[in-house]
């Protein structure tokens, strides 16, 4: 084995990031750019009776004022239900209503303040269950007319249901009748924010010949190109999307949002370059957030604790527009049981409109949310039956021969080793049965466990690609469409390439920024699929490169191609290794000592397309959405004060079946980072709305994130069950640290306080309410 795998190398872009040289979208020079600013709705649900822009247009320096009347196109990746600027109706507080383009920011801001909007309030619907009531007015009156971009989104006109996914397996009703214990629980999880440290920003310009240049902080530059091309009837080849470093995405930068507005802004001023920036407050209230969820989970088990039946209803609060939420409902349906054998199952996962800020993908694509519900219900079941909650999970863990909710047969290669994850986390956390330990006085310590699995929901035809070229020193340049937003994709791909070419990873240079006219398409940098999809493309590019080197090498050495080996910077015949040529002497075509030229420059290219995935059957959910599953188990330990209703998170443990560890330090850091996000989310984060549906103070002063000094000790360990279809056998892992943390924390606190904590966030006032005290 080469030195590239199982090596904790530093990030490729490390020195750029510590020197302030790493450029993010809004760091690029903008002296020639006009400035665009947005005016957003102050009402959660209102008819827009009129917008007076005269005062704004008259101000000096103002170049254009746009409203919904200036663009009648509808946008949306799955269901086209959203205008770029609200037309006729504003459906959430924070919805962009008008946009000003001016010579500089002070002029744009002053003009935005001079726009007068007349609203007529409509009753807001602020929870999915409220929006599901029979008398609830549909938030989208023209739901039937919206274009469905994909065939498996089926909105239900006349209601607020934007999509519905069903899973039916066995006979849940009959199975419940046989159960010794049945648990039913209701859950309410509020929306929250991605809170990437970099606020979203985008720029656009349109050249005289019609070429469009967009610079943005997107996780999905190729989707930006595609959506702009389709919506505005521009040939896709005329559009270039550039993405420099991205300051955190977590799914929040996957949808196409600011790019559309920046394009419209540039178009309104004759194609001049326009820079659209938004304050943090708009980033939170106006642009998509993490979904809320309401759920009912019913589980039944026999007297031995074996799960017999499950019945579940999930109402995804997608907010005012669908964006990618129908797919998150699908993701819930596909994995709804968690990594357990449940043969009798009925699950409905609905995507429901409300007058909240619309939602989009968030780290783990809904798995953190439904896992919370299932894992809380499992603890309740363990309590009822008198079982150790960890042992109950181990008994029911998915094993070879079982099936996923959508009927995919579980195998170690496909679904990993859930049981070993549970056994290893038991050891790592010093699990002691799950009973709270009194520390004297009002203090107790308690642990909670949660298992999880995650699969992906890419389009069945998602693609990736890679190009590799040589430098004169024999080092290589790697070019992909993968965005570097912190998830370490570039470094992982460099290691995969170095391993295959038998080079030192330091000899792999990665093109840091994405330019859609230069780099081959990579579907999106989402779903933890970079290592899998782009990794497979990189392997193919390496194979292509090696084949070319062998061809040139064989010709130069006068032997068969099959005898040629490429390793350690050399090209040689395995029969006569002492007769070698330096890789750098062959890479650009070989020149013999006599001056004759042999072969040609080696240029590696690799394309990859997902295979074997299918749509889910609308009636039963049967089908397969993901190349593989990654399972894991987590334990959180708390120290609680039973009188004060306060607590500290002491330790958080995670064991993940990552298939194969490529970079131990980076993998550990990525998983612990996800766990940290889970601790922050579960302990404090939520969007809070007033009775009119306006978010209260969407800013970092009141929306607190975990800061240093509040964090637990993190323990991370791995199980390695290789996925034979993945580069080096590595399973997706980048999002996963977050998934079970909210559930494990709620289980620990429920054990500590002797109550049922079935909501988030787990603030002291919520605990006080749950134990029956005054809030």
């Amino acid at each position: 084995m080469n030195m590239a795998l199982n090596a904790s190398i530093h990030r490729k872009e490390a020195w750029d990031k510590v020197c302030g040289r790493a450029k993010y979208a809004d760091d690029l020079p903008a002296a020639d750019h006009l400035c665009a600013r947005l005016l957003t709705s102050t009402r959660a649900h209102a008819r827009i009776l009129g917008i007076d822009t005269a005062g704004a247009s008259a101000l000096p320096g103002v170049k254009a004022v746009l409203t919904g009347e200036d663009c009648d196109l509808l946008f949306g990746p799955l269901l086209q239900d959203r205008y770029a600027l609200a037309r006729g109706v504003a459906r959430y507080a924070g919805e962009p209503v008008a946009m000003v383009v001016a010579v500089d920011e002070p002029a744009a801001e002053a003009a935005a303040r001079r726009i007068a909007i007349e609203y007529e309030d409509l009753p807001p619907l602020l929870t999915p269950s409220q929006a599901m009531l029979p008398n609830a007015a549909p938030i989208h009156e023209k739901l039937a007319d919206y274009k469905r971009v994909v065939s498996d989104v089926r909105p239900e006109p006349g209601t607020n249901v934007a999509a519905r996914h069903r899973v039916r397996k066995g006979d849940a009703k009959a199975a419940f009748a046989r159960c010794a214990a049945v648990i039913e629980k209701r859950f309410f999880l509020p929306p929250s924010d991605h809170l990437a440290m970099e606020v979203r920003a985008a720029r656009a310009e349109i050249a005289a010949d019609g070429n469009v240049l967009v610079t943005t902080c997107s996780q999905a530059p190729y989707t930006v190109k595609k959506q702009l091309a389709e919506a505005f009837k521009i040939e896709a080849g005329m559009i270039t999307v550039r993405v420099p470093f991205v300051g955190g995405g977590f799914g929040g930068k996957a949808p196409v949002t600011l790019e559309i507005l920046a394009y419209l802004a540039s178009k309104s001023v004759g194609g001049r370059p326009v820079r659209l920036t938004i304050p943090r407050e708009q980033d939170m209230a106006s642009f998509p957030c993490r979904m809320g969820l309401e759920a009912t989970v019913r589980l039944g088990a026999d007297e031995n604790g074996m799960l017999q039946a499950a019945e579940m209803e999930f109402l995804v609060d997608c907010g005012a527009y669908t964006d990618i939420s129908p797919n998150m409902a699908k993701a819930i349906a596909a994995d709804c049981t968690g990594p357990y054998r449940v043969e009798n199952l009925s699950c409905d996962a609905l995507c429901v409109y409300t007058n909240h800020t619309y939602a989009t993908s968030f780290r783990s694509f809904s798995h953190d949310s439904y896992t919370f519900c299932v894992e809380r219900a499992l603890d309740a079941l363990a309590n009822r039956l008198g079982f150790d909650p960890l042992e109950l999970r181990l008994k029911n863990a998915v094993r070879p021969g079982d099936f996923t909710p959508t009927g995919v047969p579980a195998t170690p290669e496909l679904t990993g080793d859930v049981s070993r994850c549970i056994e290893e986390v038991k050891r790592l956390s010093c699990w002691d049965g799950g009973r709270p330990l009194s520390l004297g006085g009002s203090k107790v310590r308690a642990k909670g466990v949660s298992c999880f699995w995650k699969s992906a929901n890419p389009p069945t035809n998602a693609v990736s690609g890679a190009f590799v070229t040589f430098n004169s020193d024999g080092s290589v340049n790697l070019l992909t469409g993968v965005v570097e937003m912190g998830s370490g994709g570039h470094t992982q791909l460099a290691q995969i390439l170095a391993e295959k070419l038998k080079l030192d990873p330091a000899q792999v240079h990665v093109v840091a920024h994405v330019d859609t006219r230069v780099a081959p398409e990579h579907w999106k940098t989402v779903a933890s699929l970079t290592g899998y999809m782009a990794g497979n493309a990189v392997l193919r590019a390496a194979d292509d490169l090696i084949a070319q080197l062998k061809r040139t090498g064989a010709e130069a050495l006068g032997c068969a191609e099959a005898e040629i080996e490429v390793a350690d910077g050399r090209v040689y015949s395995i029969k006569e290794p002492e007769r070698f040529m330096l890789l750098k002497a062959v890479a650009q075509g070989y020149q013999t000592p006599g001056g004759a030229s042999v072969g040609e420059p080696a240029l590696g290219r690799g394309g990859y397309m997902l295979k074997g995935l299918s749509m889910l059957d609308p009636a039963t959910g049967k089908g397969r959405t993901s190349p593989q599953w990654t399972p894991g188990a987590q334990v959180v330990e708390v120290e609680a004060d039973l009188e004060a209703c306060t607590y500290r998170v002491i330790t958080a443990c995670c064991v993940l079946d990552v298939g194969k560890v490529v970079n131990p330090a980076a993998t550990r850091a990525m998983i612990a980072g996800g766990m940290s996000m889970g601790v922050s989310l579960a302990t404090r984060e939520a969007y809070e709305y007033d009775e009119n549906g306006s978010p209260r103070a969407p800013n970092l002063r009141t929306y607190k994130l975990l800061h240093i000094g509040q964090e637990p000790e993190y323990r991370v360990d791995f199980v390695e069950t290789p996925d034979p279809t993945a580069p080096c056998g590595a399973r997706p892992y980048t999002e996963h640290g977050i998934i079970g943390i909210p559930a494990a924390l709620a289980n620990a606190l429920s054990a500590a306080f002797g109550c049922a904590l079935d909501g988030l966030p787990l603030r002291p006032e919520a605990i006080r309410r749950a134990i029956g005290g005054a809030p």
């Binding site: 990030r11 790493a22 300051g247 912190g486």
Partner: protein, 160 residues
């Protein structure tokens, strides 16, 4: 007392160099550093003093450049991440400890560490370190790597 009206030429001492910028009395230092001097290491994460991504060092102390007016900076010694040189103890420690992922908060954390090293040449106790670093937020890491970087900066980390 100096009185500023309209756009004024300010003389700022930034990273050891005398620089001239043109600023209104209401312009915040962060925007002037970024837009006029190209020092984009200071990041506008919130423009409200909550995230710390814009932290710079003024006369040896950390300062949120989004909360400081450019006119207030005259006569003071300003250091930004670009002024750390590239091989400083802070920068090396952050690279060796892998103390960042997306990198957006990194300049701010580095500048807090730079000031801490100035004010506490010997490593202070853990609670003091936590107090110093609580002014800044990181959304990617679990903070363990940043703690490790601080230890390395003081020469007490794992293998340093």
């Amino acid at each position: 007392m100096v009185r500023y009206e309209g756009k004024t030429v300010l003389r700022l001492r930034v990273n050891g160099e005398e620089r001239e910028v043109l600023a209104r009395p209401s312009d915040v230092l962060m925007d002037v550093l970024r837009d006029q001097l190209g020092l984009t290491g200071a990041k506008p994460g919130c423009r409200n003093g909550d995230c710390g991504a814009c932290t710079i060092v003024v006369d040896g102390w950390p300062n949120k450049s989004c909360l400081m007016l450019a006119v207030e900076a005259e006569g003071h010694d300003i250091v930004t991440v670009e002024g750390l040189g590239g091989m400083s103890a802070e920068q090396r420690a952050f690279v060796e400890a892998d103390a960042f992922q997306c990198g957006y908060c990194t300049s701010g954390f580095l500048m807090v560490c730079h000031a801490m090293l100035t004010q506490h040449p010997q490593m202070p106790e853990e609670l003091v370190i936590e107090e110093w670093l609580q002014s800044n937020l990181c959304r990617c890491t679990c903070y363990a790597e940043i703690r490790e970087a601080v230890l390395r900066m003081y020469g007490t980390g794992k293998s340093s």
